[in-house]
Point group: C2
Chain length 406, copies 2
């Protein structure tokens, strides 16, 4: 459900052109999927397997060869004469994806090839607060350095995926859009333009926490699952929802904002303007504040983790109550979406079982008793790198479903 | 996300066969979609528009003609010699879908053609409690009578969609399944077999309340919306979730069970085995019970509706509190899934604004303030017929996305 823009000369935008373009993309996906399943095939075999006409097939194969997504090995069978037969296969060293997570305090980058192998990852701290343009410069520099260090050429780059904090709506990637826009949308659109100008490929954008949910589903604690509820506990609380293997974006780009589900309409004020949001009970800042209120001096989330490891009873009680509150909210959402797995990530999840056990108990107690196996609640596996990996997973998912790029 | 079974001789089940079958279906969808867009086309034009080879195209067109989903008109251009050119178009009077909602107290049937026109609907009351086999007999009789009355032949029937109360899991349509099974699954599988044997076409199954959600999205109060949260208030409370135009089924077939989201873990016991479920606060039985507890004699939901219309202050207060409770739960779910619209249906929704206004207020107050337009909360439009219509919408959605039948 990630969206994409090609900034540059606008393509013909008629319905007819769009329909033909979608059809072309869908043929391309059929070809790539067939090669992924069978390994190496001749054009004749590809035509048989896909049912495409020779004209269509040859044109698409030519494009895929030019983009280095597919490679051709020419062989000559024993005793064969004339032009050697070309054998086609996916090029694992060919197509590249770059994923960038532009957080508030750091930039994370990952580079993967078309065979789903992550070939480089990196991180660069940001002096807070940084302007978006400065963060983009840092990210571009980091991509170039990682590629250099790994001896990778960025020439076969297919797309760049961008993870950003806060809500991201679909129209942000429409860089030709006219008319009124929020400051946030304008800033996000500016970033899309910057990365497109530097790398010359389509740029997709989504919320970085949502992308982390997709990364956990692709490579992490929920790999193999189709329906995943993900919550990220940092200073605040965010999340993401994956259903049928696809990231749910929502009508206004705000899906997955579990941190602002109301626990108590008369509860503590939240920075969002509401009251009693989940974040005000289980976010890192809220936990530290509550420990202090009860008389335990805690510096930050790291200090909290240490005190729980030391078995501090007051801090453990605060964490257990937070786990219970989180579990009640997650149980409600799980009753509605019936996920296969619930993943808890973010720095606060380093608290481990003292936090997760009460979450698990609440989920087991408060989801439908008719189903004896409640969804497992597990810690995340990818840590802080999830956003950048998710930005790559989003691009791959778009290719596989024929939804995006271009 | 509806699933489907063809009961009868099992098809080859290898991965290869399945992949080829999916490919064939996807070509079929490309052809049907192209005809839907362009109206009438020759085979040559279809080949140009779709990029399919002549061999593939001719084979698929032959199948579509045989199934009467597509019709051919032969014309001869002025001065043309030889065999007349065939012009192909969708057959609005051809393919038929039957939707059946097997409720606890009545059977509902709808019949629609491939052009999405509903051509007949009917209802038959059931003496409660009825056995499944008896309900199936009533449903089959009703389908036959409706077709007779409308002068429709069931010969071009494509599929039958079945809506059932309670959880429906995907494997129920796998009628060749061996091994352990719940009594519910066995009963559901028996129904699939009965309908398949009578009508000789694939039978898809889903929860009837979920299907009503899809019907409201296709034809009712949420038409045009892609992401819809639906809640049905009857004696109990059920619901359905539509995201990206597709029904969410969930990992165990239990998605949409908003009635069992926990409002208060220490609340009243619920028939599901839990405590404090939403259903125990806003279901019809709960509302009637609460009015009686406060000293107002109310017979049933109809009586409740009448008392609210008469402006009974005690009953209006009970309804307003229930609306508030429902709104808090829906706001939490809306924060997670960010729907375009929230639809409230079922007999209790006849209470109208005295119930809906407090729902709307709570949703506006408790969803993210960063988005000034909360999702609209509206009453359903299709009433009790939604389940049967949804069973048809599910089949059409399956055809359009190439997901199901066969």
């Amino acid at each position: 459900m990630s969206s994409t823009a090609e900034h540059g000369p606008p393509a013909a935008r008629g319905d007819r052109a769009a329909a033909l373009h979608r059809l072309r993309r869908s043929h391309e996906q059929i070809l790539l999927g067939t090669l992924a399943r069978h390994g190496t095939l001749s054009r004749a075999e590809l035509a048989t397997y896909t049912g495409l006409s020779r004209t269509t097939l040859f044109a698409i194969v030519a494009d895929l060869l030019a983009s280095q997504l597919v490679v051709e090995n020419t062989t000559r069978a024993a005793g064969q004469r004339g032009r050697p037969a070309g054998l086609l296969s996916l090029n694992p060293g060919g197509g590249l994806y770059v994923g960038i997570d532009m957080g508030r305090h750091r930039v994370r980058v990952a580079i993967a090839n078309v065979a789903h192998e992550v070939v480089a990852t990196g991180r660069h701290a940001l002096p807070a607060p940084s302007r978006w343009a400065d963060r983009a410069d840092v990210a571009i520099g980091l991509v170039e350095r990682l590629a250099d260090d790994a001896g990778i050429s960025l020439a076969p780059l297919r797309t760049v995926g961008l993870g950003l904090p806060g809500p991201v709506s679909a129209e942000v990637t429409d860089t030709d859009r006219k008319g009124s826009d929020s400051a946030r949308s304008r800033a996000q659109r500016g970033l899309v333009r910057t990365f497109h100008e530097r790398f010359g490929v389509p740029v997709s954008v989504d919320n970085n926490t949502r992308l982390a949910a997709l990364a956990e589903t692709t490579w992490g604690a929920a790999r193999g699952a189709r329906d995943v509820l993900y919550v990220r506990l940092s200073d605040g609380v965010g999340g993401g929802l994956v259903l049928g293997g696809q990231l749910v974006r929502g009508t206004r780009g705000a899906a997955g904002e579990v941190g602002h589900v109301t626990v108590d309409p008369d509860g503590p004020p939240c920075y969002c303007g509401g009251r009693g949001c989940l974040e005000t009970y289980v976010g890192g800042l809220a936990l530290v504040r509550e420990c202090r209120r009860r008389g335990t001096e805690v510096s930050d989330v790291d200090g909290l983790v240490q005190l729980v490891r030391d078995g501090d009873p007051a801090v453990c009680a605060v964490v257990a109550e937070a786990g219970r509150t989180l579990g009640v909210v997650l149980a409600g959402l799980a009753t509605e979406v019936d996920p296969e797995r619930i993943v808890v990530g973010g720095p606060v999840s380093a608290l481990g079982e003292p936090l997760l056990a009460p979450v698990r108990e609440a989920v087991a107690a408060l989801t439908l008793p008719a189903f004896p196996d409640p969804p497992p609640v597990v810690g995340s596996e990818l840590g802080d790198g999830g956003g950048a990996l998710g930005a790559i997973a989003g691009q791959m998912a778009a290719v596989e479903t024929g939804l995006a790029p271009n």
